[in-house]
């Protein structure tokens, strides 16, 4: 069965995401570090089933504590897995840092710009189309607690493909 890793910075809503996708009921809380081990679940996609793994939050792939070590090890063990990188849209820069690290390691990634409502409340404007064209991977705005954007995330799984970081850098340079 195709595996999906749910990755992202701490406290961005990965577990809420996991519960919504799988119908499970893992503990969610509003502080970082709730998930220090991983949880597995299953989801029906539009054509096939997926195994989903809720990975502890990490800022980067250079682990600096136990939870991050679990995250990095999971990624390394699951070669061939798809990654849904959940990022806090209101803290987009550090989220994208992790996205690029995962892309760099050759995993196909779908970016979920979660907490879209929080970013809107902060009057942040994010050009999704531009971000998509720079990264060349699916980017979907989501609100995990209400379920907004989930259908699109699931549908975009099949569009996720490995992308070279060099091409991304070139596209960024073109904008500058």
């Amino acid at each position: 069965m195709k595996k999906i890793l749910l990755m992202g910075n701490p406290n961005v809503g990965k577990s809420v995401f996991f519960n919504r996708l799988t119908g499970a009921n893992v503990i969610e809380s509003n502080y970082p570090g709730t998930t220090v081990d991983y949880t597995k679940g299953y989801m029906k996609g539009d054509s096939k089933d997926f195994e989903i793994i809720d990975v502890p939050g990490t800022f980067s792939l250079e682990a600096k504590d136990k939870a991050e070590e679990v995250a990095v090890k999971m990624l390394e063990e699951k070669k061939g897995a798809l990654v849904i990188c959940v990022i806090d849209a209101s803290k987009i820069e550090r989220g994208l840092y992790l996205v690029l690290e995962i892309v760099e390691r050759g995993y196909p990634v779908v970016v979920a710009l979660n907490m879209w409502d929080v970013a809107e409340d902060k009057n942040m404007q994010i050009d999704i189309e531009k971000l998509k064209s720079i990264l060349n991977i699916p980017v979907v705005p989501t609100i995990a607690i209400s379920g907004k954007g989930f259908k699109e995330v699931v549908l975009s799984l099949k569009k996720a493909a490995s992308v070279g970081v060099n091409e991304i850098t070139e596209r960024v340079d073109e904008i500058k």
Binding site: N9, T58, F59, S60, E62, K91, E93, R94, Y97, E101
Partner: protein
Amino acid sequence: MEKKLSEMNYEEEGRVVSIEQDLKNKLAGMGIRIGKNLKMITKHPLKGPIVVEVDGAHTSLALSIADKIVVEVKK
């Protein structure tokens, strides 16, 4: 004026001018890089962690890490 991030006062703002080499990648994942503007939000007592604002988001750092970041403080 330049000082260590750990020495900043409440509400003080500054721009990062240097970060100890082996911490650079670790901090980049938390949105802290050279050139970024930071604002001191909280310093916990008893050598506890500090909280800074970067790009509108709060990030906490161990005091020992904040010791290794130098900022140019705004007047």
